[in-house]
Symmetry: D2
Subunit: 311 residues, 4 copies
């Protein structure tokens, strides 16, 4: 039986790649893509999602645009990693324009679809969690209608990528991450930043994946050049996929080699730790486990999942 999913994202190169990965699975039915402000402004995220769908000849999938800033409304500047347009600053003149974006707001679409596909749909959230938190706040039962929610974000050893302890998705909207972890009420699986770092890929692998003669591979090759240059300029010797790791774990649970099941929440008040995921290792908080945190991946399977997406 097909698995229905809604992807909430902020494309973003790694979101683009994650969408392509989902599209490469025959048993996955993407009901909708909802976009949120993050790697770039939300409308551009919507256009980027369309551009990915076009490359995969799947313009039938509806794309919705949601919140244009985090819950408290203060946008933090995005990392230069994805380019100002979120897709490596290589615009495609033949890309779909915003007229292809659905008129309905992502929040109401998310709530409507959660009811329409109740108990038969998964949420895959690979951007800041603003849209998801807003849906919860408008409809307390929103999360209960999903079979699972799968999140790329946060950290479990205090390692950040935009501040000392802040991973981008959670740091960008700590309050939303707090709401989602504590109030979503469906099984949550998280791939945190440290797991992504631990499972970086070599530049050889990265290049190999993007050398296929497909529209999809060509798109990813073009848009990733900016990130690769950025990473090389910093002297790093490998490439860290993020949303791809979460998507691989969702698509094929065999990719998950190890995980922990714990209560986790999000710090929203810290001076240095705002947006950090807080893991209650020793049950000091006396709360029920609410998340499964993926701590180790099967690297071979993981890389195959990415490779297959671009073939």
């Amino acid at each position: 039986m097909d698995r229905k999913i809604i992807i909430d994202c902020d494309p973003g190169n790694d979101d683009a790649m994650a969408i392509l990965m989902a599209l490469s699975y025959n048993d996955i039915d993407i009901i909708a893509i909802s976009c949120v402000e993050g790697n770039t402004v939300v409308k551009q995220c919507g256009i980027n999602a369309l551009r990915v769908l076009q490359a995969a000849d799947r313009m039938d999938i509806p794309v919705f645009v949601g919140c244009d800033s985090p819950l408290l409304g203060e946008r933090k500047s995005s990392s230069p990693y994805h380019g100002h347009d979120g897709l490596g600053n290589v615009p495609d003149p033949s890309a779909p324009d915003e007229s292809f974006i659905q008129q309905e707001h992502a929040i109401t679409a998310l709530i409507r679809l959660s009811k329409q596909y109740q108990d038969d749909v998964h949420l895959v959230a690979i951007g800041p969690l603003t849209n998801v938190a807003m849906a919860i706040r408008m409809d307390s039962k929103f999360g209960t209608r999903f079979k699972s929610c799968n999140i790329m974000g946060g950290n479990y050893q205090g390692v950040g990528n935009v501040t000392p302890c802040g991973e981008f998705n959670f740091y960008f909207d700590p309050e939303a991450a707090y709401v989602v972890l504590n109030q979503l009420k469906c099984p949550i699986t998280i791939v945190p930043w440290e797991t992504c770092v631990q499972h970086a890929i070599s530049f050889e692998t990265h290049t190999k994946h993007r050398s296929f003669n497909t529209k999809k591979a060509k798109l990813m090759k073009a848009v990733d050049k900016h990130s690769v240059d950025h990473v090389l300029a910093k002297g790093h010797n490998n490439f860290i996929p993020a949303d791809e790791a979460l998507m691989a774990c969702f698509l094929n649970s065999d990719v998950i080699k190890n995980s922990i099941h714990m209560y986790a929440t999000v710090e929203t008040k810290g001076e240095y730790t705002s947006g950090q995921m807080v893991i209650d290792w020793r049950k000091h908080l006396n709360k029920q486990a609410n998340v499964t945190i993926v701590t180790d991946l099967d690297q071979t399977l993981y890389e195959q999942t990415m490779e297959n997406a671009l073939k």
Copy 2:
């Protein structure tokens, strides 16, 4: 020309009275009443609003129900002041039931109506600001469509009524108050808690207003008994209307004897000061004035406005 208003509220005795005050003005056209969790659970707030409308024979005004908890989702317990049902624990068996509440969610209704009556409608917000903040977050231009927003909430001298520095409406959802003050983008007038305290009314006046032989006066007399008993038990020698003060200022600007025009924001991180309104008296923050804070009322006019509402 009529003034169109939307009342966002959490009835609440003082909300009930404020609605009756608005209804007593011939030139006021209440487009909608939207309810928010606050003095009691949000659905009960909706039913309470209907009960007030019934007493005024104005069941034609649509009542919407919005968010059932503050932005971050943690409900703080309400004050015992209003009774557990928000209206003094004197249920009326002939009150309208929840079937009279509109199906549409208050947030989408607020946004829709802001467009329908663009530039010709005022917002009167006399509950926690969750609904208003949510509407802003879903639609950044929400606030720009209102001629004004009028808020009962916060404080300007650090005086709280539920914590040392926290007034109920702002303390109940500090993040929402923060969003509204900083991102609503229409003229905002606030009646803070200190102004309400300064303009308490005598029990004689309170009783007199509730002694008319009208359905409205009888309703207010019945539902206020709980609050009056509560206040007397604490040894206070007067009664402090709150939402009424804001409504009076809005209905008749002559009620405003003094006000200040300043930049104000809301503390969301403090240990003791969460929810406190922060006034930038000396322009340390170098921001444009965003609120007019009413600091003094014409007591006579104010009391007349209340009296007229129950005649």
Copy 3:
């Protein structure tokens, strides 16, 4: 019988004036002056104290130097109000040099003197409270040995002078203010910032006080020029003494026209409210009253006290 006092201060023009006020009272015996980082660096504060004592021919009073930064160690820049040297940038070549400062550290001196004059000495604290908090931390019984502690600092209506809600002395070291209010354990009287503002003096009065043909008046006239120019440049039409108000209240309790007796603490976590004094108006915190806050002064008596100091 003489009243023995220790003055902990950060001169500072208003500290200078406050010291002169104390010296003008025959029944006041200044046991020691201890200095703390605040208006300028702590060693300069010590030299400034000596300069004041020299002008009053009281070089017999020992001056101690204490902490060179607040408890957490991060110096906030001082207001330009007092000049970079704390005394209006008019150095006196014949002023005493640092060799006249006592070798003993102010903290150990404070503790030693508190024991020597146990139950017979008052503390007058008119700078950031770092020294006092350190003395408490080294010796939990420190405060119990004083008949009273008299503090200029904080606010009771959320009005700041260096941030929206932060008065200089409390904001400069919020943690110290927190420690002192909660752990000093002797009667505390506070003159907060709002009371100082309410009892500003006219420039005429200011000039008149500084026109006497005394060394003291000449000193104050010289060092105050910088502040007066600063205030005039800002367009203010009066002059706000601060430490003088506290000293006047201590020297002559008739200066106090009104005060409140409450539990108060200090916010140390707020984003906007760090250093704000928190007043528990309605006993939400269920704590015993720990401070007397002076809210109104007898202006005539107050001004006489200042005038007499310079005659």
Copy 4:
């Protein structure tokens, strides 16, 4: 040449063991032991230190008592792990009483000794950092006189032992830890909690070390029974030394198998993360490295160091 050290501690079983480890090294000269509130009240910590010295026939080493609560003055309850007396609730009637504690306060002793042995003394800090922070605040140059400071405390992967993210020593006085890391200004080596956990010892090893026929081994066997019982009751299958790990690294640097050199600070504002050590992995804060964090130990050498201490 002998290495002179001052041990600042809160004995505590693991402090006791760490002191014995230091005493077992012929080239180590313990100049002083200063005690701080932590595992138990500070005076009891002093008595406990004396009891350890008595067991090792080294009553010649002076023991000082310092601060009786953390910088901000609010004591957090100690873990039940060490017993209410800090040494497993097996009092020794023949233990030295408090008359053997030095009269001088630990803070002034620390400062005095830092001058006396300037550039020739190491600080080993295995309790909350209150005393050390106080010494810094009283004398900004305090830390510069030490060859090194060696700290057991904090964490580098967000793992706490008393709160989700709080290790006892840092959580007990986060502000002091903040001051020490940022303002001590001598080379700092830290053994964080995760490294201790990673290098737990088996109960067999624990028992073996305590089975020697020496006064020292008998003392440790007696006082550790309470902790062992506590750990067994929780179902743990090994025993986690903490202060011992730091002391082993200091005594024999070959015990350190791996370490990182980074900028680290301490969160003091977080709701869940107060006291967490914050590691600036990617130099987001643009600060110079200030700590060496030990991340791996040579287990064999480590255990030998402990064994030798009790022989």
